[in-house]
């Protein structure tokens, strides 16, 4: 693999003065033109991770580099932000209701003083995001557009700056089902035509199957499984990934493993493997049979060292 577009190394993000480790020692690399889906339940730290990539959350430890250059504070941050763009879950909230569509798209162009005739650039960006003819949208306001159109405006505004990395926070979760595919196809088309890389945060495994080259599953601030989409989703190794897949209604034949208990809370981090209080292997006695139950309860673990592309953080897999 050539130089990665994004490399996240041992990143930690903390809240509440260090009492909550929302992201706890995460490393991830994203290659050029690669789509990575970051999957997990709310509170697993996936959104915090991508917000830290774009500088919206300060790092407590670790480092993030985009195209080999470390992300720091100050002057370099602005140049970085042109390279890294973000789209949001709620396109309605992400658009200032007082700004017209033209202004929403032009905002980034102005911040980065992009050369060229502004109205033409804006129109081209809208057209490339499927809002055709663009003249029809320029003067409108966000509330006059549908949810899908608003998300297209945000994608247009992000892509207008020619980023190398696009971060997407639940890009289709608030959209109607029939719109979903169109937006995903649009995102994927920018990968194929412009070589942009995408990190998409989602709870929707179907999205990963639809557009992602690789999947990283997060649980309580850690990546517990990462690998090529086909391998992770067809042959998951971590019991958490297996459980997540089993409750997807479209997958038949898999016995449902509904985990009991609440969505995990990062302010109360369990000892040992973070997943052990909900782990079906521990609950069923399988872990005891394998003789690893003490390690599950007492020994914290990270992803196994790089042996292949598909890596897991689970005592049972290593046993």
């Amino acid at each position: 693999m050539s130089e990665p577009v994004l490399s996240v190394t041992n990143v930690q993000v903390q809240f509440g003065g260090g009492s909550v480790r929302a992201v706890d020692t995460v490393s991830l690399e994203v290659g050029r033109g690669e789509v990575v889906a970051l999957v997990g339940e709310s509170g697993c730290g996936k959104t915090t991770l991508i917000r830290s990539i774009i500088g919206l959350e300060p790092l407590a430890a670790g480092s993030i580099a985009v195209e080999g250059r470390p992300v720091g504070r100050g002057r370099g941050l602005r140049a970085l932000r042109r390279k890294v763009q973000m789209i949001f879950q709620d396109p309605t909230g992400a658009l200032n209701p007082r700004h017209s569509i033209y202004e929403a798209v032009a905002e980034g162009l102005r911040i980065h003083k992009v050369k060229g005739h502004e109205p033409t650039l804006v129109a081209e960006a809208l057209a490339s995001a499927g809002l055709r003819p663009p003249e029809r949208y320029l003067r409108r306001f966000p509330h006059e557009l549908s949810g899908g159109q608003r998300q297209r405006v945000l994608i247009a505004a992000a892509m207008a700056l020619g980023p190398t990395l696009l971060l997407a926070d639940e890009p289709v979760a608030s959209l109607d089902a029939s719109i979903r595919g169109e937006i995903l196809a649009l995102m994927r088309s920018f990968v194929d035509t412009r070589g942009v890389s995408i990190v998409a945060v989602t709870h929707d495994l179907g999205l990963a199957w639809n557009i992602a080259d690789r999947v990283a599953v997060m649980y309580l601030g850690r990546i517990v499984e990462v690998g090529p989409t086909e391998e992770v989703l067809r042959a998951p190794k971590h019991p958490y990934t297996q459980a997540l897949l089993s409750v997807v209604p479209e997958i038949e034949g898999l016995e449902q493993q509904i985990l009991t208990g609440e969505t995990p809370d990062p302010s109360r981090m369990p000892s040992g493997c973070r997943f052990h209080p909900r782990c079906p292997l521990v609950a069923s006695g399988e872990a005891e049979r394998l003789g690893i139950v003490d390690r599950c309860r007492g020994v914290d673990l990270e992803l196994e060292p790089e042996v292949g592309a598909h890596r897991v953080a689970c005592h049972a897999v290593r046993a």
């Binding site: 029939s178 169109e182 449902q256 509904i258 609440e262």
Partner: protein
């Protein structure tokens, strides 16, 4: 006799910009112990139906057709009778559990209130019953002492279900009960609803935008578009072999993980869900339809039998079976 029957229901909202036909002729029946799913996108009228069953629509809304609860027309009821029927015959689990609970009252008191309002029992008995209900929905009885904000999203949704069950309704209408929840919690709530339905012989009308949730929970499924049912049939069949092009697109929008056809190939539908106040002519779906013919822009067909137990509102359905 069906516990809930809608006969040619029309609901038209009044707005500044003129009348908005939200539901345009829906007929549907729910048998005892049955689960019927109602799927559709925003603005298709599915939530309007939930509100229409208990006459919870805003003042001035025009309703025609019939809503029969246990054979009795809800829209012919006197106000006193209507109040009695609400919650005892049919109850609703709303979406957005945070907003349907009073934030400054303990959840137990809110359930007790519903019991005391509809049944002649002592406050002590109501309290005992509240505890039982919470246990039934999988919460410890002491959660009654909590305020809504002290509970997680999944727990609040369980409280709402307990609240809906407070007066032993025959019909439970669940309007997007799992939408704001995490996948795992969503699975927990779905399993709970299924269990309650089985154990208590509840009849469940399950309304959601998520077609995939319905296929596993519902025996029968109705897909709505622009205020009408466009396809009906057994849940799994409708999802697996849709007859209406809209259902086909909707089903494809939920990819089957492991299916090579959908890998790197997200399927969607061009255009947006229609605005109920400005519906296209003819079949309202024709502007987004991949197989529309010339006549679709003027011809609006009703539901047609497509196969045994299946019907769809599309001109192509007839062509396939002539």
């Amino acid at each position: 006799m069906s516990v809930l029957e809608l006969q040619d229901l029309h609901v038209t909202y009044r707005s500044e910009g003129g009348p908005v036909p939200a539901v345009r002729g829906v007929s549907l029946s729910l048998e005892r112990g049955d689960t019927v799913g109602l799927a559709g996108e925003s603005g298709c009228g599915k939530s309007t139906i939930a509100a229409a069953v208990l006459r919870l629509l805003p003042k001035g809304t025009e309703v025609s057709g019939k809503v029969l609860l246990d054979g009795e027309d809800v829209y012919a009821m006197k106000p006193g009778r209507l109040r009695a029927v609400r919650w005892t015959s049919a109850a609703i689990v709303f979406q957005g559990a945070l907003h349907s609970l009073n934030p400054v009252r303990r959840v137990g008191n809110q359930i007790e209130e519903a019991i005391l309002l509809h049944t002649a029992v002592s406050p002590r008995a109501a309290r005992t019953r509240t505890g039982e209900l919470l246990v039934k929905v999988g919460l410890p009885a002491d959660r009654a002492q909590r305020y809504p904000h002290q509970l997680s999203g999944g727990q609040r949704q369980r409280v709402l279900i307990a609240l809906a069950l407070a007066c032993d309704p025959k019909v439970l209408i669940a309007d997007e009960p799992t939408t704001a929840l995490d996948v795992m919690v969503q699975a927990q709530v779905l399993a709970l609803l299924e269990e309650l339905q089985r154990e208590q012989g509840l009849s469940l009308l399950f309304i959601t935008h998520d077609l995939s949730v319905l296929t596993t929970t519902c025996e029968r499924l109705a897909v709505m578009y622009a205020g009408r049912i466009v396809e009906q049939g057994p849940g799994r069949e409708v999802f697996a072999q849709p007859h209406h092009p809209y259902t086909r697109a909707l089903a494809a929008a939920f990819p089957t993980i492991g299916d090579p056809a959908s890998r790197m190939n997200p399927a969607g539908l061009a255009g947006d869900p229609p605005d109920p106040s400005a519906l296209p002519s003819g079949c309202p779906f024709h502007v987004r339809c991949a197989v529309a013919t010339a006549e679709c822009s003027s011809l609006d067909v009703g539901l047609r039998v497509a196969a045994p137990g299946r019907s769809a509102a599309c001109v192509h359905v007839e062509a396939a079976h002539v």
